[in-house]
Amino acid sequence: MNQFLRSLTPTQQVATLFLIVFGLLVIASTTALFLSFRERRNPVHDATWQAELAHYRKLLGTTWFMVIVFWVGWALGETVATVLFALIAFFALREFITLSPTRRGDHRSLILAFFVVLPIQFWLVATARFDLFTVFIPVYVFLAIPVASALANDPSHFLERNAKLQWGIMICVYGMSHVPALLLLSFPGYEGKSAFLVFFLVFVVQTSVLVQHVISRRSQRKPFAPNVSRSFNWTSWGIGIVVASLVGALFSFITPFKFGQALAVSFIACIAGSMGHLVMKALKRDRGIPNWGKKGVGVTGANGLLDRVDALCFAAPIFFHSIRWYFNV
């Protein structure tokens, strides 16, 4: 079996991987479907059971969405993948800005963020200008946006408004742009397989969030920061991180890393991802909403996108920079 997999070309290997993932997802979804037919005698139990199942199906839906996005990205090549992630960043930023009230004076800065900063950042990624794309937003944009705001002649809540906009750019554009950037990292002897790296990151981060979620549901422990998240506690967080890191380590054969290295990088990615998820929860709580969808009622497909990618937005830059620094690629 192993011999057979090694004999495949990189493209065939990636295709096999996607085939396996889709197969697993189909199994999970079918199970969920059949489980939903089952009825509990006790109506109270039945209600909670159904609610839990609905939640589980939502998570599954998220996973389906992500996998399909990555599959399309991989199938159509690096440039298309970058454009795809640029679009995701665009929609995520749109959601972020929608729910962070802006003022009339922010209009020019917003135009700058959406139509100048975002395309430039992704263009820098697509053309592999690593040294510029890592500093473009934190250095140049963060100093330019306040200038645009100041020129709008509206000083009220100046710091607040700029912080909102810059934070939105940081999460949605900067964080997201590091996912396609992974495709461009060239490890020696790993050519043509960098799609695995993206898959690895997403898979590991999603696993940690999922495991954490399931365990906190089961264990009913006291939440650590109840005002921010009612489900976050250190025990389930720790278990989630450990499980996901081990899973990452087991998948080291698809990465350029050795077992221990894979364990370490997935550990880092999981901590960043789960903490990012928590941070975004705090932001949502501040806005008084349960999720980024428009008042919980999503009609267009783009709604709630930020919920799906928030962990990734935090994990990607940290993952990217730590492996780039350590392996010097």
Partner: protein, 298 residues
Amino acid sequence: MLAKLTGWLLLGIVRLLTGAQARWYGCPPKAEQRIYFANHQSHADLVMIWAALPEELRSITRPIAARDYWANTPFKRWITTEVFNAVYVERAATAPASAAPAPAAAEPDTPPAPARDTAAGPAERIEPSMEPLLPLAPAPQTVVDVAPEAFDEIQGRLDLPAPPPPAVAPPVEPPAATTEAAPSEPAAAPASDPLAPLVEALRSGDSIIIFPEGTRGHTGEPQKFKSGLYTLATMFPDVVLVPAWIDNVQRVMPKGEIVPVPILCSVTFGAPIRVEEDEERRPFLDRARAAVIALRDV
């Protein structure tokens, strides 16, 4: 063909920028004859509500567009007629408004004409009130009710032209004008009456979208509704009146900006309202406005 393509393209852009969500709260999207009335904050409102309607309703629903803005270039005119299938209304902008009373004042033997003109006159209005059509409205109190507002509008106009003295248009004048308008010059009345195109559209069975505030508001609460909605409602009692709240569009493109920014917007449609038996104009308009505002928080 080209119009259809442009429509799709425009729809794509609107969806990309705003999401163009429709939220049907008080009523389902249904192919019956309706008057949608909404708050008005931006030129993009027209496009927004058009994009939010489902495809099959879009073809039978005609938005109204101010002729001075939407027909001032060939491209805008083409897009509003071919793509939106809009109904133009005259919103007497400042220049035409000051020009219009001049010929009317030149013939002082017909006082009704200037009176009607003034009713249609004030600047910055999309949908002037409907005093000329009032004979069709049943209740005589409405005519009494008209007087103060009509007087206000006359007052508002007076600083533009010097010739007509206040005596020409006392509060009693508008009723005289309205009673005379229908019988004496039936052919001329629809031409000068700003609501005539809407009446025509409704007669032919189309649904329409109107913005009863008249002007674009700034933010927050909509302004007082103009009386056009009431007149149309009483003229067409069978048409369903659906309130709508357009959210966030002013953030996409505030007054004075040209480049829109992408921010999610939504149009919330509420439960239909109707004019009750013997309900007067102002209470009805206030109720309609309240129905629109109530949709902001659902």
